[in-house]
C-alpha cells in the first residue's frame, strides 16, 4: 500500500487586478450593493457585444513571463457552454486550444530542496456571478461576473501535500510581485482546483479526482492529503476509484463526492465569434517583459549574496513585496542591512498585525527606516528605544517625522556617559547581593540579570555594552 505514489496537478484561478472587467467598463471593485457593478454587456443582455479589455491580455502575458512561459503570438477566445444561473450568457468566454501562455515552470522549495513544477498553460476567461441563498429563495449577484481571470494549469508534477502548499505559496508570491492579482483568497481572488490520482511507480496514472474552489493554502494542502489517503485506503480495501468531482469541507476536514463523471465533460466549445483573434507581437511581449519586477527568487539570492542575510531572513523578507521594497529602499540609503531586516521582520510586522494593516500600509518609507537603523548601529539609541520609535511612527501624530527628531523630542537617546552609568552599576550591585554572590561563585551568566537592572534603572537609555563592561570591572575589581 505504501508504495503508491501521488500525482497532483493544480488549476489556479486568479482574478486580475485590472480596474475594469474583461469585456466592459464596469468596475472590478470587490463587494458593492448587489447588481450595481453591471451593464448590458456583463449581464449578457441580448444584442450587447463584448469588447476585450487589452489590460487583461497584458496581465496574462505578464504572469506568463513571470512563470517562464512561452507566449502565443496568435491566440483566441472560445465559448464554453453550460447552464448555471450565475453565468448570464450560458457560456463562459474562455480559451480552449490557443491559450495566451504555455510551457512554463515555477521553482518551489520544500525542505531545502528546489523542485521545478511545469506550467502547462495560462489562459484568460471571465468570472461568474455569485449565488446568494436566502430564506425565500436564491438571488444572483452579477457584480463579480465577467471580471477577468487567468487560469494557471500546472503539470501533474506535484507528489505530496507539502509541495501543493509550497507551489501555491510561491505562485501567490509571484502573482503579487507582478501585480496582476491581489490574491486575496478570503475574497475569492485566488482559488484552486486540486486534481489527485495515485499509482505505482512504472504503472500508468490512476483514476483522477478533482476538488474544486479551494480558497486557502492550508485547505489545498489538507484536501490533497485527505484525498491521497482516501484513495490509498479504497485501493487497500480492494475497492475501485471513480472519476469524480469532490467537495472539500474545510471545517470538517473531509471531502464528499459531488458528482461521478461517467463521460468527459461536454462544453460544446467553439471559437467566440464576437471577439477578434488576439494578436500579440514579439515587441509587445518584450515591452511587457521590461516592466517585470525583480521576482522573489532573484531577490532572495541577492539578499544572501549582497547583504549576507541567512536563507531564513531572505525568505521571510521577500514574502511581501511591499516590505521587501521597504528593505531595498532603506538599504539604498546606506543603512545596515541586518538591522533593517530585523526591524521589518520584528517590530514592523508585529505592528502591522496588531493594527490589522496591509504591508503596503507601513506609514513611513525606506529613508526613515534607514535613519533609524543607523541610530542603532551608531549606538545613539538602544534597540528597545528603536522599537519605541517604530511604535511612535505608526501613530498618526508622528506621521512624516524623522526618527532623529522623535528620539530628541522623546528623549530616547542612549546614555553613554561613563560616570553616570558607573554610578547606576554600583547601585545595582549594592541592591542585589544574592546575584553578585552567584556571579562571584562562578555563575558568570548572572551578570546579564545585573545589566537588565541597569537598563531598567536608566529607563532603557543606558548603553548596554558599556553597562556590561563597567559591571565586570566593578565586580572583578
Amino acid at each position: 500500500m505504501s508504495d503508491y505514489k501521488a500525482v497532483i496537478g493544480l488549476e489556479v484561478h486568479a482574478e486580475l487586478d485590472t480596474a475594469s472587467k474583461i469585456y466592459c467598463g464596469c468596475t472590478t471593485a470587490f463587494g458593492g450593493e448587489e447588481n450595481t457593478h453591471v451593464c448590458p454587456i456583463c449581464l449578457g443582455l441580448p444584442g450587447a457585444l463584448p469588447l476585450l479589455n487589452r489590460k487583461v491580455v497584458e496581465f496574462c502575458i505578464k504572469a506568463g513571463l513571470a512563470l517562464n512561459c512561452k507566449i502565443n503570438n496568435y491566440s483566441r477566445q472560445d465559448r464554453k457552454h453550460y447552464f448555471y444561473p450565475d453565468l448570464p450568457k450560458s457560456f463562459q468566454t474562455s480559451q480552449l486550444d490557443l491559450p495566451i501562455c504555455y510551457d512554463g515552470y515555477l521553482d518551489i522549495e520544500v525542505n531545502g530542496q528546489t523542485k521545478r513544477i511545469g506550467i502547462t498553460r495560462i489562459h484568460i476567461e471571465e468570472d461568474a456571478g455569485k449565488l446568494i441563498h436566502g430564506l425565500t429563495g436564491t438571488r444572483v449577484d452579477y457584480n463579480r461576473g465577467a471580471t477577468g481571470l487567468i487560469e494557471i494549469v500546472s503539470e501533474p508534477d506535484l507528489t505530496n501535500p507539502d509541495e501543493v502548499y509550497a507551489y501555491m505559496e510561491t505562485l501567490r508570491q509571484v502573482l503579487l510581485y507582478t501585480g496582476v492579482s491581489n490574491c486575496k483568497m478570503e475574497e475569492g481572488s485566488l482559488r484552486c482546483d486540486v486534481n489527485v490520482s495515485i499509482h505505482r511507480e512504472g504503472e500508468p496514472f490512476g483514476v483522477r479526482t478533482e476538488m474544486k474552489n479551494l480558497n486557502s493554502l492550508s485547505a489545498a494542502k489538507a484536501a490533497a492529503a485527505y484525498e491521497i489517503k482516501r484513495q490509498k485506503q479504497v485501493l487497500a480495501e480492494g475497492g475501485d476509484l471513480f472519476q469524480a468531482t469532490l467537495r472539500w469541507d474545510d471545517a470538517k476536514g473531509i471531502n464528499y463526492v459531488m458528482r461521478v463523471k461517467e463521460h468527459a465533460d461536454e462544453y460544446y466549445y467553439f471559437p467566440e465569434p464576437d471577439i477578434m483573434p488576439i494578436v500579440i507581437t514579439p515587441e509587445e511581449v518584450e515591452a511587457i517583459r521590461a516592466t517585470l519586477p525583480e521576482l522573489p527568487k532573484a531577490r532572495q539570492q541577492r539578499y544572501k549574496s549582497q547583504y549576507g542575510l541567512s536563507d531564513y531572513d531572505a525568505n521571510i523578507l521577500t514574502v511581501s513585496k511591499a516590505l521587501s521594497d521597504l528593505f531595498d529602499q532603506a538599504v539604498a540609503c546606506e543603512a545596515p542591512a541586518k538591522v533593517c531586516a530585523n526591524f521589518i521582520m520584528g517590530d514592523i510586522t508585529r505592528l502591522l498585525n496588531e493594527k490589522a494593516l496591509q504591508p503596503e500600509e507601513v506609514p513611513f518609507g525606506g529613508k526613515e527606516l534607514a535613519e533609524l537603523a543607523n541610530l542603532i548601529s551608531q549606538g545613539a539609541i538602544s534597540s528597545s528605544a528603536g522599537s519605541k520609535v517604530v511604535e511612535l511612527l505608526f501613530q498618526p501624530e508622528f506621521a512624516g517625522k524623522a526618527p532623529k527628531a522623535i528620539v530628541e523630542e522623546q528623549n530616547l537617546g542612549q546614555v553613554s556617559d561613563q560616570g553616570a552609568i558607573k554610578a547606576m552599576c554600583q547601585q545595582v550591585i549594592d541592591a542585589n547581593p544574592k546575584v553578585v554572590e552567584d556571579y562571584r561563585g562562578g555563575k558568570k551568566q548572572a551578570i546579564s540579570a545585573l545589566v537588565g537592572q541597569v537598563m531598567k534603572a536608566s529607563k532603557g537609555k543606558a548603553n548596554p555594552a558599556m553597562a556590561n563592561q563597567l559591571l565586570e570591572e566593578l565586580l572583578n575589581g
Binding site: G47, L51, R79, Y269, D274, M276
Partner: protein, 497 residues
Amino acid sequence: MDNMQKQELASLTLTQAAGLLAKGETSSSELTQLMLERIAASDNNAYITVNAEAMAAAEAADARRRTGQSLSLVDGVPMALKDNFCVRGMKTTCASRMLENFVPPYTAAVAEKLADAGTVLLGKVNMDEFAAGNATDTSYFGPTKNPRDPRRVAGGSSGGSAAAVAEDTAYFTMGSDTGGSVRQPAAFCGVVGLKPTYGRVSRYGVVAFASSLDQVGPLNKTVEDCALTLSLIAGCDPRDASSLPSPVPDYLAGLKGAEGLKGLRVGVPQEYMGPGIQEDIRQNVKKLISDLQAAGALVEECSLPQLEYALGAYYVISSAEFSSNLGRFDGVKYGYRAKGYDGYDDMLRRSRSEAFGDEVKRRILLGTYTLSAGYFDAYYLRAQKARTLIIEDFRRAFGKYDILLTPTAPVTPWLLGTAFADPSQVYAMDMCTVSVNVAGLPAISVPWGVDRDGLPVGVQLIGPALSEDRILQAAHGVEALANSGQIPGQKGGAAHV
C-alpha cells in the same frame, strides 16, 4: 386631404418625403399621423409594436425644422425597426414568446444613429422568431402577409420590414440579414434590400442570431433611398469589435441610372442559374443579362464551384452560433419563466420548452449537435474550411468581375401555410443568398419584373468587401432599366408618385 392625396403622400420615397419636408409642403406630424392610420388599417400584420411616442417625436422634429435646427436631411421621416433592434424602454420581442415582455435598458447603435438623424420611430416590425426562418411564419405573433398578394408569405426573416415598405406604412425600415433575411423578403415584396459588408454597420444592440454572419441592412422603396439610408447607418462603432474602420464613401455620388452600367463587368454564376431556380425567374434574369449588355455592361457566365457547399456550411455555422446565442434565455434574469417549476433545472427546461417555437428548437438542437465533442470536426470545422474555400472562390471571381448577378431567391413567394415535406426544403430557399453571408460580402436585391403569376422577382448583385458604392451604382442602373418598362408585367420597382 382626400384619400387620393393620402395615398400619394404615403407612397412617397424616402428621398421625396425628405424633399417635401425641406420645402415645408408636409410635416413630420402629417406623415407620422398618416403612417399610424395606415398601420392601424392594415391587415398584413407587419407591425408587432407601435411606438406610443411617435407623434411626440414627429412634433419635436417639426419644431426643429421650424427653427432651422433640423438634425439631418431625413429629420422627421417616419420609419420602423425589425423587432430584434433594442430600443431603451420599448418592447423588443424578437417575435418570440420568450421575449414577449422584454424591455431592454439600452438602445442599439443603429437605432441611436437613426434617432440622432431625427427620424421618427413608428414601431417594431414582425420577423421570424429570433430571425430563424425565411417566411416570417415562425413569429409568435402570427405571420406577416405579403402586401403584393396577402395569401402569400412576405419572406423572411425581415418580412415585417419588407411588408411595411411595400404597403407604405413606413418610408424605410431596418432589417437584419444572416443568410438572406433582408434581401429575400425585399425580393418577395418587390422592394430594395441591402446586406452590407460584415462589419460595415454596427451590430451593437441587435439581438444576435449568428454573430459571424449577422449584418444590419436597410429596406427601401428605391436604390437612391437605400444609398441615403446606408450613409446614415454605416461606419465604425467601437462597441462592435467586428466593426470595420474604413471611411464611409458618399453612396449617393455614384448613382447614375443606366449610365452607371457602361463597362461594368458582370459575372453570372451558373451555380445559381440551374434547375433549382424557378423557370420564369431564370428567364427574367436572362432578360436582364441582355438589357445589361444593351446598356453597355460586359456580362459573362462564370462558375464558383465552391458555392455548392455554401448552404451546408451556412446551416452548420449559423445553427451552432444560434444555439449558443440563445442559451442566455433561461428564465433567470428576464424573459419568459415557466410557472410552478421545481428548482433551477426544471425552470430552465420548462421555460425554454414553453417559450421557444419549433423552428427555434430545431436550430438549437442542430447547432448543439454539430458542436458536440464527437461531431465538431465533422461539422463545424468542415464548415469553417468550406467557408475559407468559398471566400477564395469569390476573391477569384472578383479578380475578373466588378459584380456578380444572381436571382435573389430560387422561387417567388409561396402561399401561407404551404406544407413542406421537410425543413431542408425550406432551407434550400436560401441557396442564392447564404454564400454572401458566409463570405461577409455586400449584396443588394433589386426588383426585376414579375413571374407568370405577377409576383415580384428580385435580382441580387454581389460585390467584393466594402464595395457598397459599386453595387448601389449597378443596382441604380438595373432599377432604371426596370423603370424603362421593357419587362412584361413589370409594375415599376421605383417610381411611386
